[in-house]
C-alpha cells in the first residue's frame, strides 16, 4: 500500500512560502514512493498561478477556492480539511504560527497521531514512523516514534528539509472546492496590524550586538550598548528582552521579530533557539558568548567564547577602544 501524503502550501500575497518546496522532501523521507499531494487553499485570481507553481514540485495539486479563504483562518481550514482528507493519510504543515494554530486540533478531528516541529525523518517501518525532534530549546534531540496506522499530522520545522529546486513534476491540478464542505467557524478574522517601527532599523545594520536572557538584568544592557558603540554597530536582542520591556519590539531578531542580514552578529547570552536564528540571514560571521558550552548557539556560531558576558564584554570593549 502506498502512503498518501499531503503538503499544506502556505502562501502570502500570491507567493508560496519557502516551506512549500521543503515539505515535498520531508514527504520523500517518509516514503520515497509516496503519492504526495499539494493542498493549495485560497480565493480569487492568485490561486491558479499558485497551483501551477506547486504543480512543478508536486505530481498532484488539490485546489480549494472559496471566498472565506481570502485570509487563511485556521479554524475554517481545519473544517475543510476534515471533510477532504482520507482518514489514513499523512498531512504535513509548516511549524509556524499558522501550523501551530491548525495542526494539533486537526489531528484530533482526524483521529490521527500528531508530532510537532519535526526536524528529521528516518523513514517508516510498517506502521511506525521514525521522526526526530528537539526539546528544551534545542539543547537535546529525541527520536520519536509515531503510529501511522490511522494517519498522522506532522508540523515540520522550516529549513530542516532543504529544497531541491529541480521542479520537474508537471503535476495535475484538481479542483476540490466542492468536495471540501464548509464548516461554521466561531472565530472571525478582522484585520492584520503591522508591527511598529522603531527608531533604528536593525534589518539594515552590518554590525549587530545582540543580547539575550543571559544578560541577567536591565542595567547590563549598557554593557552591550558600549560594545556596539565601540564597534560602530547597534544593539538588537532576543524575545525575552522585549517581553521584559527592556528593549523595543523593533529590536527583536527572529521569526516573530525582524529578519536581519548583518555582516557580523554577536550573540551575547542567547541560547540559539530556531525561532531566534530564523531571523538571522545572509550567513554573517556569528560570535557567541555563553556560559553554557552546550548551548545550541555554538552550533550556529563560527567562533565561541565560554565566559560570563558581564566579565568578558567590558574587557572586549576596553580593548577595542584602545585601538
Amino acid at each position: 500500500m502506498t502512503t498518501h501524503i499531503f503538503a499544506y502550501i502556505e502562501h502570502h500575497e500570491g507567493l508560496a512560502d519557502d516551506s512549500s518546496l521543503e515539505l515535498v522532501n520531508a514527504a520523500r523521507k517518509i516514503d520515497p514512493q509516496a503519492q504526495v499531494t499539494a493542498l493549495v487553499f485560497g480565493s480569487g485570481d492568485s490561486l491558479d498561478p499558485l497551483c501551477q507553481e506547486a504543480a512543478k514540485t508536486y505530481t498532484e495539486v488539490w485546489k480549494v477556492d472559496k471566498q472565506e479563504l481570502a485570509y487563511p483562518n485556521a479554524e475554517i481550514i481545519r473544517g475543510l480539511l476534515i471533510n477532504l482528507l482520507p482518514k489514513d493519510g499523512i498531512c504535513l504543515v509548516p511549524h509556524d504560527t499558522f501550523g501551530m494554530d491548525l495542526a494539533p486540533g486537526l489531528s484530533i478531528k482526524l483521529n490521527s497521531s500528531f508530532v510537532a516541529d519535526v526536524v528529521d525523518i528516518e523513514g517508516a517501518d510498517g506502521d511506525t514512523l521514525k521522526t526526530v525532534r528537539q526539546e528544551f530549546g534545542g539543547q537535546v534531540s529525541t527520536h520519536v516514534n509515531c503510529n501511522i496506522a490511522q494517519g498522522a499530522v506532522l508540523t515540520v520545522r522550516t529549513g530542516s528539509f532543504p529544497a531541491d529546486e529541480s521542479k520537474s513534476a508537471s503535476g495535475r491540478v484538481t479542483d476540490k472546492s466542492d468536495a471540501a464542505e464548509s464548516v461554521e467557524a466561531r472565530r472571525t478574522f478582522q484585520e492584520v496590524l503591522e508591527a511598529e517601527m522603531g527608531e533604528v532599523d536593525i534589518s539594515k545594520e552590518d554590525i549587530l550586538v545582540s543580547v539575550g536572557r543571559g544578560i541577567g538584568e536591565e542595567e547590563n544592557i549598557e554593557i552591550a550598548q558600549e560594545l556596539a558603540e565601540a564597534m560602530g554597530g547597534v544593539v538588537s536582542c532576543s524575545r525575552p528582552i522585549v517581553d521584559a520591556k527592556w528593549m523595543e519590539k523593533s529590536r527583536q531578531v527572529g521569526t516573530s521579530g525582524q529578519t536581519v542580514k548583518p555582516k557580523v552578529y554577536l550573540a551575547l547570552g542567547i541560547s540559539g533557539s530556531f525561532q531566534h536564528m530564523g531571523g538571522v540571514k545572509g550567513n554573517p560571521f556569528i560570535v557567541a558568548v555563553n556560559t553554557n558550552p552546550k548551548a545550541p548557539i555554538f552550533q550556529a556560531a563560527e567562533v565561541g567564547i565560554v565566559e560570563d558576558l558581564t566579565d568578558f564584554i567590558p574587557e572586549l570593549t576596553e580593548k577595542i577602544k584602545e585601538l
Partner: protein, 263 residues
Amino acid sequence: MEILVCIKRVPDTAENEIEINSAGNDIERDDLVYSVNEWDNYAVEEAIQLRDKVGGSVTVITVGDEESEEVLRREMAMGADKGILLTDEAFENSDGRGVAAILKAAIDQGRYDLILTGAQADEGAAQTGGMLAAMLEYPYASLVNEIEVLDDKTLKIGREIEGGKQEVSSIGLPCVLSIQTGINEPRYVGIRGIRKVASVDIPELGLSELGLSADQVGEAGSRVKRVDYFVPETGEGAEILEGDTEEVAAKLIEMLKARGGIK
C-alpha cells in the same frame, strides 16, 4: 467569567544545562531547578487581569506528579483562586493526546467560559491547547497576545504572527486560547505570598475520579512515543577561543577586524 488555566512544571532552561542520563532515556533530573513554564505564567497573569476586570474566578490545573503541586501554589500566590492537581501513575508517559484527554475529563466536571494554556512548554510541541479545543468542540486561537472582552459571549483577540504582526479576530465563548509571552508583565511572587496559600487545599483527581480508562492515557494510550534522548552529531560547531579573558579578547578583535566587525 470562569477561567481555567492549564499549567506545567518544567525544568528551567535559563537556570540549567540540560544533560542526558547514561541510559539515554531521560535527561539528568537530579539537580535541576524547576519552575512554572514561562508561557503559562503569562497565561495566569492574563486570567487574573481579566477576572479583576469582569469578575469571576481563576482556576489553575496541571497534569503531573505530587511535586507539581508547587507550581499550582505559586500561581495561586499570584492570585489564582483555586488549584486542581490531576495525578495518577497511569498518567505517566502520556503523549499530547493523552494529556489533552486528561484535561478534558477534568473540564467536563466543571463549567468554564475561557480556557487558557501557554503557547508551548519544555517539549516545544505547542499542542495541548489545540488538541483540547478540538476534543471540547470549542473554537481555538494560538499565540494570543491581546484579549479584550466584548460581551459575555465574545472576545476580541490578537494573535502574534510572523514578523511581529498582529492578526485580530473575534472568537466565541467558550473557547481555548494559547498565550504568547509578552502579552502582559507577570507580577512578582514573593515568599510571603507563597506562604499565604501554603495550607489551601488542592484537590487531587486520578484516573477513576475522572472516569478515564487506563488504555486512554499513559504509555498504553500513546500513539506517539519518545524512544530516547541524544545529542546529534552535527558539523564542527564554533571554534571555541581558549585562554584568559585578555587573550581571548585580543584573538576575537583580530577576527572581527578581518570580517568587518569593527568600523
